[in-house]
Symmetry: C2
Subunit: 142 residues, 2 copies
DNA sequence: TTGGAGTTGAGAATTATTCTCGATGGCTCG
DNA sequence: CGAGCCATCGAGAATAATTCTCAACTCCAA
């Protein structure tokens, strides 16, 4: 409901596409949405925002720190609302279910590793792939 | 020099493109090569292997466990010889330099996290991004 | 050496994303 | 409140990475 202020604070002009895209993320059933996903959800609700614009807006919102971009399996990028607290992902190879977690020990070690190589750490990406409880059970049956 | 046996052991027919692609990896100056990279190196040495074939062979060699695929920044995939010992990457945002490392503590924690969610862990990818010593120094000057 | 299954190469097709450009719409100033 | 400028938009073309299609070719076992 406060999309307008958020955009203004980020130094972005308040336009219909930007407000609508944010709205989609705030009301979506899933946390992770691709450009195509967002595009379809908007098309489904009279708001006719072009695909190119969706891509543009996603990039801008990411740069403004309001969204976080992830490229899991490769192929396509997905975005999620950036709520401040960083986290990593656990992804099911069977059904695509995605869980989020943070592990202080891992974060600490990452910093240590980077330091030991003399690097100035800026970012990282980590994803664990496996089978969720349901899919693991299903696979065990065969 | 033992490309032939390696291929045979993997159950792959010994063909010129497969041998050549492996050779490229074994004699390259860099560990990480994209399909395009491999293609150009082959073109540069009379061996005329089509780009589509390079892609096919890379996929096959990966499935056979002889190469490992990584999709760092997204965009394009790179491959490297799979020498058994798993490792993660540290990538310089300035010059693209790539270092490799393994951290038992992180591996252990990853397993623990997956378990705590009831997942059957199969694989993971992790990359740390930052500035290498050289690039960090250059950036500090400004 | 010969035949067939597996493999190749060239180019077309696909997928994800970005660019181009004329039209449109926020927003600042008067 | 209205005018105009500049940022933004939409559509479709363009790009980039990768995969598909299919006729021609090559390994290799017999």
């Amino acid at each position: 409901m406060h999309e307008q202020e958020d955009l203004k604070n980020a130094g972005l002009k308040v336009t219909l596409p930007r407000v609508k895209v944010l709205e989609v993320f705030r009301t979506a059933d899933t946390r992770h949405l691709s450009a195509e996903d967002v595009y379809h959800r908007l098309a489904g609700q009279s708001a006719d925002v072009g695909l190119a614009t969706v891509y543009r807006v996603l990039t801008q919102l990411e740069e403004a720190g309001m969204l976080a971009r992830n490229t899991f399996n490769a192929g396509k990028a997905v975005y999620e609302l950036n709520e401040g607290r960083h986290h990593d992902h656990l992804i099911c190879l069977g059904c695509g279910r995605t869980d989020e977690f943070t592990d202080p020990t891992i974060e600490k070690r990452q910093k240590a590793v980077a330091e030991s190589f003399g690097y100035e750490l800026r970012d990282h990406q980590m994803a664990l792939y496996g089978y969720c409880p349901d899919c693991a059970a299903k696979r065990a049956e065969d």
